[in-house]
């Protein structure tokens, strides 16, 4: 019988360059099946870390991007109508619980509070998922692990995780890597040379200094990689950064001018 989560397996090892001890921490947490919360700004590598770990631990990875209309049913599963009557279909969370995958709930604060309580029995010593509609108690597969990500930025100023949710998790705080390391990552992901990657990182760090002063977030590592990939394709650094960094991060005229001047100072 084919493995049910075959398509959720990562075939190739995703590139991940550890910035600290997060890989060994993640491994230890997995070994004791401690649910994990990854915290950090957007585009700093939270998702990549989970993919990397799923591959390293040999587990399939089920990812759910959370949004405010996500209901408990969307996670757990629902009955569908078909010609014979109704048929139960497992939701992504149930699939992961049954078959021992890592379930990654991305941007968890976006989901409604009432949706989140269904993960409570899964994330403590009970380790089961009650499916009240189906009248079934799904015991978690021994390999199952729940991972959530959380960006304590502006979006969450009025949305916050309840203490009862938070306290079930261990947390790993991620941030943008140190400059040399970030340059190495940009160079690896885009195949741009290390010198140019270093200058992109320097620009990125300058934009991050504007956080709270016109920008909600500075340019993420992901954006720097986008810019670098355009450069590899033969685009000049200035238009590449304009397309991949400046235009996406702001619509404001003054902020754009300041960013343009910083860009020109870096790459004229």
């Amino acid at each position: 019988m084919a493995e049910p989560l075959h398509e959720y397996r990562l075939e190739r090892a995703p590139y991940y360059r550890p910035a600290g001890d997060e890989v060994s921490l993640f491994e230890a947490a997995y070994a004791s099946r401690l649910p994990l919360m990854l915290k950090g700004p957007t585009g700093c590598g939270k998702t990549r870390l989970v993919e990397h770990m799923a591959h390293r631990l040999g587990r399939p990875l089920v990812t759910v991007a959370c949004h405010e209309d996500l209901t408990a049913t969307d996670l757990a599963g629902r009955y569908l109508l078909d010609a014979q009557g109704t048929r139960w279909r497992d939701g992504p969370l149930t699939l992961a619980v049954r078959h021992g995958a890592i379930c990654y709930l991305d941007e968890i604060v976006e989901a409604r509070q009432d949706t989140l309580v269904i993960i409570h029995p899964l994330s403590d010593s009970r380790r089961y998922l009650p499916l009240d509609k189906k009248n079934e108690l799904v015991r978690a597969h021994p390999d199952f692990l729940l991972v959530i990500s959380y960006n304590p930025g502006y979006q969450s100023a009025t949305k916050d995780l309840k203490a009862s949710t938070r306290q079930r998790f261990g947390a790993i705080q991620l941030d943008y890597p140190a400059p040399e390391l970030e340059a190495e990552i940009v160079a690896h992901e885009s195949e741009v040379d290390l010198g140019l990657a270093g200058r992109l990182v320097a620009l990125g760090r300058r934009t991050r200094a504007l956080r709270g002063h016109g920008l909600d977030e500075g340019a993420s590592t992901r954006m720097l990689i986008h810019a670098a990939r355009l450069i590899v394709r033969g685009i000049e650094p200035q238009p590449a950064c304009r397309l991949a960094i400046i235009a996406p991060v702001t619509d404001d005229v003054d902020t754009t001018e300041a960013l343009e001047a910083l860009l020109a100072a870096e790459f004229a």
Binding site: G85, T86, P152, G153, L210, G214, A265, E266, A268
Partner: protein, 617 residues
């Protein structure tokens, strides 16, 4: 970039200010930024009677447009009238980058000692070249920014200023050819160290050597008219200590003092006036407050959050008096019933205000501009209500559940419809205005900070009311811990009306900023709101301070604690500061990602609404 012919206007400081501050912030992305490096202002207008003969320590006569830096920040010309719009804007960026080069690369205030004016100017030129080279090594694009302004040629007039322009260019631009012997010698001495420019001390030695050579050439030179070139360079004042008059403020500081003293003396009058007003109108309530403070708690109930309430006889203009605790970081504990907050119900002024209530054109324009944003808010507050007994569409989930139940032989739930209707209100926001004395400060356009805040607040309220959102508006000021005033302009359940708008008209700035007490009081106000999500949006122009708290950290720590207390009651607090230098204290108070710092107060109306739209989402 548009062609130069289409730009009749030159750029002024006000046009570029906001972008410049962001530029400087980005340039200094290093972790330790000194606050003066980010405080960018325009040069004060020249005082009428500028002394005509004085020790010329600044290489620009009064009235000429050169930048300047001192311990208070960077100062840029009010305009670069010699340029068109876009070149003028570039000149501002070039000038800012040049000043930052000085600050980053260690230009120090030094004594001219025995240096003659000519040698001093040459030392400064070498120092300019040194710091620019060092900054451009990090940011090579700056060379491109600066090069536009280096236009000197070997054919310049054979005067000392002409020679200086050429020397500046020669040290800046390695491809520039100039056979003048002084320039050849200067280049050779400057680049003697391989791999970089000379040190700060070496610049002084080389400059004084060159000074001797130039002195013997008898070039035309009037020290009082000398103007540094190119235009983006500063006037060298940041480098030279005025030894002859150690107590004498420099020309700029004089001008600054004039600008600073005027509004403060006005403010002093206001202050004493408004204080007597307060005593006249509310003497009775203050007496009651003191009695409660003294610990005689008969009839005063303490609630679970440490606030003590004392209901008063209903009086015009006066509400409850509430005692709030205050956190003392030194003893690491909360002092119970420490601050007395007097609630005031701001009354709509009785005088006929028809003239004032006609909104001016600017307000109307702004309202038109912001309406689309408000409409979006309105759309967002409409939601789909599921599992209803009647509605316009079938609720798929409910329908499926129902047929499942049918087939299982159970009684199905008949609530299988969904309909769209305004979502029940789940968000209440309290806008808390800082009414302290400093909000009376005048902006360059003559309006006060409070005027801008009032206008922003009116627009915000009007558009929110139209979108049907719940909100409250209150303001606070303090005069020591026994006298914290909390003005209620609008409560959450009240519908917005012209009366509320009129109340806001009567805002007047006074006293200090005891943020913690005001936050606790606002939290108490919101605790009773039925909405699921509650937010206090604090609009302030400075850090917490009060007359009885000389230690600046004390009230800051208290405010931080007040924010944490509100969060524990699931009331979120967001800070919006119009003080561009607020980072140092707003981050610890409100927490990462829970504050915005506004570099340009004029954009407050837009920012306030945009911020609300984001927080309400």
């Amino acid at each position: 970039m548009p062609a130069a012919t289409e730009e009749p206007l030159s750029a002024s400081f006000a046009d570029v200010e906001r972008a410049l501050v962001m530029f400087a912030r980005g340039m200094l992305s290093a972790p330790h930024v000194r606050p003066e490096e980010l405080r960018i202002s325009q040069l004060p207008a020249a005082p009428r009677n500028v002394p005509t003969r004085r020790l010329p320590l600044r290489a620009a006569p009064p009235g000429v447009h050169r930048s300047f830096a001192n311990l208070h920040g960077l100062y840029l010309p009010r305009a670069y009238p010699m340029f068109g719009h876009s070149a003028g804007r570039r000149a501002y960026f070039a000038a800012t980058a040049h000043l930052l080069a000085h600050l980053r690369h260690g230009t120090r205030l030094e004594s001219p000692g025995s240096l003659k004016p000519i040698a001093r100017i040459l030392v400064s030129l070498l120092e300019d070249a040194r710091v620019e080279w060092l900054l451009a090594r990090e940011l090579p694009g700056l060379n491109w920014l600066w090069s536009e302004f280096h236009v000197a040629r070997p054919s310049e007039l054979a005067t000392f200023p002409g020679l200086c322009s050429r020397l500046s260019r020669a040290l800046f631009d390695p491809t520039y050819a100039d056979p003048h012997p002084v320039i050849v010698k200067a280049r050779a001495l400057f680049w003697r160290t391989s791999g970089g420019p000379p040190s700060h001390e070496e610049c002084r030695r080389v400059g004084s050597l060159l000074g001797n050579d130039v002195g013997q050439m008898r070039l035309t030179f009037n020290v009082h008219d000398y103007t540094v070139m190119p235009v983006y360079r500063d006037d060298h004042q940041l480098q030279w200590l005025d030894e002859a008059r150690p107590d004498q403020p420099t020309w700029f500081e004089q001008a600054e003092d004039v600008a600073r003293v005027a509004p403060e003396s006005d403010g002093g009058e206001n202050r004493s006036q408004s204080k007597s007003d307060v005593e006249g109108s509310s003497g009775e309530s203050r007496d009651t407050g003191r009695a409660a403070d003294g610990g005689e708690s008969d009839g005063a109930g303490a609630d679970s959050h440490g606030a003590v309430t004392r209901e008063l006889e209903p009086q015009p203009n006066v509400g409850r008096t509430v005692l709030h605790p205050e956190w003392d970081y030194v003893i690491r504990t909360s002092r119970p019933a420490f601050c007395t907050v007097f609630e005031r119900r701001a009354e709509a002024p009785v005088v006929e205000r028809s003239a004032r209530q006609v909104p001016d054109q600017e307000f109307v324009d702004l309202r038109r501009q912001l309406q689309p944003l408000a409409r979006r808010l309105k759309l967002e507050s409409i939601g789909r209500v599921r599992r209803q007994t009647e509605g316009d569409v079938l609720d798929l989930d409910a329908a499926i559940d129902a047929s499942v139940d049918l087939r299982l032989g159970r009684t199905p739930d008949d609530r299988v419809y969904a309909r769209t209707r305004p979502r029940r209100q789940t968000f209440a926001v309290l806008l808390l205005l800082d009414l302290s004395q400093s909000t009376g400060d005048r902006l360059p356009n003559g309006a006060s900070v409070l005027d801008v805040e009032r206008r922003a607040c009116l627009l915000w309220a009007e558009l929110l009311a139209r979108a049907g959102d719940s909100f409250a508006i209150a303001g606070f000021s303090s005069n020591g811990r026994h006298e914290v005033e909390y003005h209620r302009f609008k409560d959450v359940p009240e519908p917005w009306s012209a009366t509320h708008a009129a109340r806001l008209e009567d805002l007047s700035p006074r006293f200090s900023t005891r943020m913690g007490a005001a936050l606790r009081h606002a939290g108490r106000d919101l605790r009773t709101a039925r909405q699921e999500r509650r937010l206090v949006l604090l609009l302030t122009d400075g850090e917490p301070s009060d007359i009885d708290a000389p230690d600046p950290r004390y009230l800051r720590e208290d405010a931080r604690h007040a924010v944490a207390e509100l969060r524990r009651q699931s009331i979120q607090v967001f800070g919006l500061s119009v003080d561009p230098a607020a980072d140092g204290y707003v981050r610890p108070i409100f927490g990462e990602g829970r504050y915005w710092v506004l570099d340009r107060i004029e954009s407050l109306p837009q920012v306030l609404l945009r911020l609300y739209a984001r927080l309400a989402k």
